[in-house]
């Protein structure tokens, strides 16, 4: 308990932010740095938050955990596993020191996303240090809460540009009793068709992926349900399923991700046909997420994503000083600027990380 109190450096962080307001210093909010490669090139003085750490409250029976931003994701996962629970959105770590603050700020979700919800879906509450130097609490530790605007979920995926996440409360879920992964040879169009057809049935699917040759499906739930679904889906059982979903897909250890060309992430409607781009695509999320590696011009890739009804992000590599995220329509960008202004009028936090204008 004493340790928990010592690791609360809210005051210290607030002092730093107030000083930055005075001096007009811009700040780069930094945890372990595991996700520093995401977004646009960072500038600003580092504001290290890893010492603001610790699980503040964990109530397994209430399906809720609250932790300080600097708490390691691995610490949280271990605590949950001890109670037979997990973070249902399976966030990628991208490094051993990954923190929960960075995880929520970047808003990334893993293979279970379409079936169990996203990082923001699971956010219940946050304590935020804003660009005005105020410590504000939004949401809470309960499942249903509609008092005031939902500013906690707004923080998910904002890349720290609206404020520093001090604590986050998340909904957690039980680990499934049984889990099995099946693999079958399929072409890309057929894989997309199958993933969408399955999603329209009551099958207990919790992850899907097509790596160019093979279609992988993870089933999870009660033992009997998994057995029954496995029979109806067919294919061979993958022996090291944890290595596949966690190592290769979620943490991007798969050979597909190893090549040197820039890595693009295209988020499009799940049933859209394979994108007309040269080279291979790795498909996840029941068809809704398409990874692409290639040296094509960003305009070409963005155009392909837009035409399919979605958007493209330059995930790794390429020119990080150019636009990384899909450009917003002007009226939408205007709202973004005013929101940024509402939280961080001096533009202290992570300037330009999301968009050059923010």
């Amino acid at each position: 308990m004493i340790e928990l109190m010592e690791n609360d450096i809210t005051k210290e962080l607030q002092t730093r932010v107030l000083a930055a307001i005075q001096s007009g210093t811009r700040l780069e909010i930094r945890g372990s740095g595991s996700k520093r490669f995401l977004g646009r090139t960072l500038c600003g003085e580092p504001l290290i938050v890893t010492h603001h750490a610790g699980i503040v409250n964990y109530q397994p029976k209430e399906l809720v955990i609250t932790a300080r931003c600097g708490t390691r994701l691995s610490t949280i996962e271990t605590a949950l596993a001890e109670q037979g629970q997990m973070l249902p959105f399976e966030p990628p770590h991208f490094g051993p020191g990954a923190t929960i603050g960075g995880t929520i700020a970047c808003g990334l979700s893993g293979p279970a996303r379409p079936y169990a919800g996203s990082a923001r879906d699971l956010v219940l509450g946050t304590r935020v240090l804003t660009g005005l130097g105020q410590v504000l609490r939004f949401g809470g530790e309960v499942m249903k809460n509609v008092a005031g605007y939902d500013l906690s979920r707004l923080m998910a995926g904002a890349y720290g540009t609206l404020g520093l996440l001090l604590d986050v409360s998340l909904k957690v879920m039980p680990r499934p009793a049984a889990q099995r992964t099946l693999a079958q040879e399929q072409s890309q169009p057929e894989a997309i068709r199958l993933m969408n057809a399955w999603a329209g049935t009551a099958l207990p699917i919790t992850a899907t992926c097509h790596d160019g040759n093979r279609l992988f499906v993870r089933l999870a739930g009660a033992e009997t349900a998994v057995d029954q679904a496995a029979q109806s889906i067919g294919g061979e059982t993958v022996r090291h399923q944890e290595a596949l979903w966690r190592g290769q897909i979620r943490e991007q250890g798969h050979d597909f991700f190893a090549a040197g060309a820039p890595l693009w992430r295209l988020s499009i409607p799940s049933a859209a046909p394979p994108l007309d781009l040269p080279g291979i695509q790795l498909i996840e999320w029941g068809g809704a997420l398409r990874w692409y590696r290639g040296e094509l011009q960003s305009q070409t890739i963005r155009k392909a994503a837009s035409e399919a009804g979605g958007h493209a992000t330059l995930f790794r590599g390429g020119d990080r000083s150019a636009e990384i995220f899909h450009p917003l329509a002007p009226p939408l960008m205007a709202v973004h600027r005013r929101l940024k202004q509402a939280f961080d009028p001096n533009g202290l936090f992570n300037p330009g990380r999301l968009f050059a204008e923010l």
Partner: protein, 528 residues
């Protein structure tokens, strides 16, 4: 098939929490006996200061709206004077019923130019007065936006206009084996636009989420008439998560003019177990035990003795009327999964000290079990002249403490309280029984209700789980949030609506309002 069944059993249930209240008939509402904490003084429709602005605005609106799209006569406006929270009434300046996006845009631009408040309205079933008119403002009725624009079977989404009823989406999706998951008790009548505004829940949220988890895209008309497209048929979007911000924003940031929702496959099977307890605390414990065992039920509801008695008397659901509490636990999924989970749930309920555990034998009995729960509000309306429905959420482990305190308060105020509870996610609906015709009783009820909400905050919960703040819970917002949080809400509001014309006076209190509330004798006493 299953969703059709799920749908039919609520057809007879009344969805308006305060449905039992006498319908307002006279030209003026009954005079309030004591100043309400919530209500501002009503402003007369015939206030001389309103006559000219009304006439001017009508003239300008009629330049681009057909005759039947502008209502300005007092008798035409009465249906709009309140929503599901009927204790609070106010006639608007006028009502507009546009048919096209172009019309909505011109209305918004005109009102923005003339500094006229705009209150958007769906089906008017809201329970927090979110659609209560503003005396100097326009009610923007979206009832004519009632078309389902597209159902994408392969992508499992539905694109609909805001006036489409919640249940109509599931009905339209049923031929494809799909449905829209959030199911507020009002789903037969409430509109999807209103669901988005309130972030509505229902009895299946624990497993399937709230509205915010099931909306993929919105088209939003801003206060100054810009059309924003937010989200898409994708699982995420670039930039800030505006969907999360807009869902539940109670019509204060913009007007939702189109909604894309995700559809889910209808589960193969659903079964329900009813467990009776001689002690509410044990029932609360059992809820935690089920979840700790790794089972997430599709629905997990609790009712206390008075609620059981009222419901049983009304719909004869077969509830054990001698029980102190019952739990209804619904499990859904594939047939085998359900069989496995039902066996486990039964075992857990028996171990937790249930005096009786019954599994519905068939869909008929399952529907009967649910009908009792879903009719709890109108059932209470039969035995009490009026009732007032609260909507707080608490951490579940605090349930015994909260129920004990509610019963003490109930005694203190001399007003009976029945409890209906979305036990799985800690969302309570205490129903306060009162008689509006007894002088001062409504005000006493409001005060008791306020104390219950403040109790929810005290134990780490919130003043509203799914009904919204509206006009009703404005005072308790001052308890749940500090000055800085409320100011931040206002900054966000102004980022969308700089002139503060959208649904003014709702959702977020002004600092002045809060300091006045904190000065109230009853509240000061509380804080000592």
């Amino acid at each position: 098939m299953w969703s059709a069944l799920r749908a039919t059993f609520i057809v007879n249930a009344s969805w308006v929490c305060t449905a039992s209240q006498p319908k307002y008939t006279g030209a003026r509402p009954p005079e309030s006996k004591k100043m309400s904490q919530i209500r501002a003084q009503q402003r007369s429709f015939h206030d001389p200061a309103l006559v000219a602005p009304r006439a001017n605005l009508v003239r300008e609106l009629r330049r681009f709206l057909p005759a039947d799209s502008v209502l300005e006569q007092e008798e035409e406006l009465h249906p709009y004077e309140c929503d599901g929270l009927t204790a609070y009434r106010q006639l608007p300046l006028l009502v507009v019923l546009p048919r096209t996006l172009g019309e909505v845009q011109r209305i918004m631009r005109l009102c923005n130019d003339r500094d006229v408040p705009v209150v958007a309205r769906g089906a008017g079933t809201g329970l927090s007065g979110g659609a209560l008119p503003h005396p100097e403002g326009v009610v923007l009725n979206l009832a004519r936006f009632n078309r389902i624009l597209d159902i994408d079977q392969a992508g499992r989404t539905a694109r609909v206009q805001p006036g489409v009823r919640n249940l109509a989406i599931s009905e339209a999706a049923a031929p494809f084996g799909l449905y829209y998951a959030p199911d507020p008790s009002s789903q037969i009548a409430c509109s999807i636009g209103g669901n988005v505004a309130e972030n509505s829940g229902g009895v299946h949220c624990l497993k399937y989420g709230l509205t915010v988890h099931n909306v993929m895209a919105l088209k939003l008309m801003t206060a100054d008439g810009d059309l924003l497209e937010i989200g898409g048929q994708t699982l995420d979007s670039p930039g800030y998560d505006l969907l999360a911000l807009l869902v539940g924003s109670e019509g204060m940031l913009g007007v939702v003019v189109e909604v894309t929702v995700r559809l889910l496959p209808v589960p193969e099977q659903a079964r329900v177990v009813l467990a009776a307890y001689d002690d509410v605390e044990k029932a609360g414990q059992a809820v935690g035990d089920i979840i700790a065992a790794g089972i997430i039920p599709a629905g997990l509801e609790m009712m206390d003795g008075p609620a059981i008695a009222a419901a049983e008397d009304f719909v004869h659901a077969g509830y054990p009327t001698d029980a102190a509490a019952i739990l209804l636990c619904e499990v859904d999924g594939t047939e085998r999964e359900v069989t496995e989970h039902i066996a486990r749930v039964r075992e857990l309920l028996l171990t937790s000290g249930a005096t009786e555990v019954r599994t519905a034998r068939d869909d008929m009995e399952r529907m009967r079990f649910w009908q009792g729960r879903k009719s709890a509000f109108p059932a209470l309306g039969r035995i009490s002249p009026d009732y007032y429905c609260m909507d707080g959420t608490i951490p579940r482990r605090r349930l015994p403490q909260v129920l004990r305190r509610i019963s003490e308060l109930s005694e203190e105020y001399g007003l009976p309280v029945a409890n209906v509870f979305h036990a799985g996610d800690g969302n309570m609906h205490p129903l306060i029984c009162y008689d509006a015709n007894k002088p001062g009783e409504l005000e006493k009820t409001e005060e008791l209700g306020g104390k219950i909400l403040e109790l929810c905050v005290e134990v780490g919960g919130t003043i509203t789980g799914e009904h919204g703040v509206g006009i009703e819970k404005i005072p308790q917002m001052c308890v749940q949030f500090g000055k800085n949080e409320l100011e931040q809400f206002m900054r966000v509001k102004r980022a969308f609506d700089p002139k503060e014309l959208l649904n003014p006076g709702k959702g977020v209190p002004t600092p002045r309002r809060c300091s006045e509330y904190r000065q109230l004798p009853s509240h000061r006493h509380d804080r000592q």
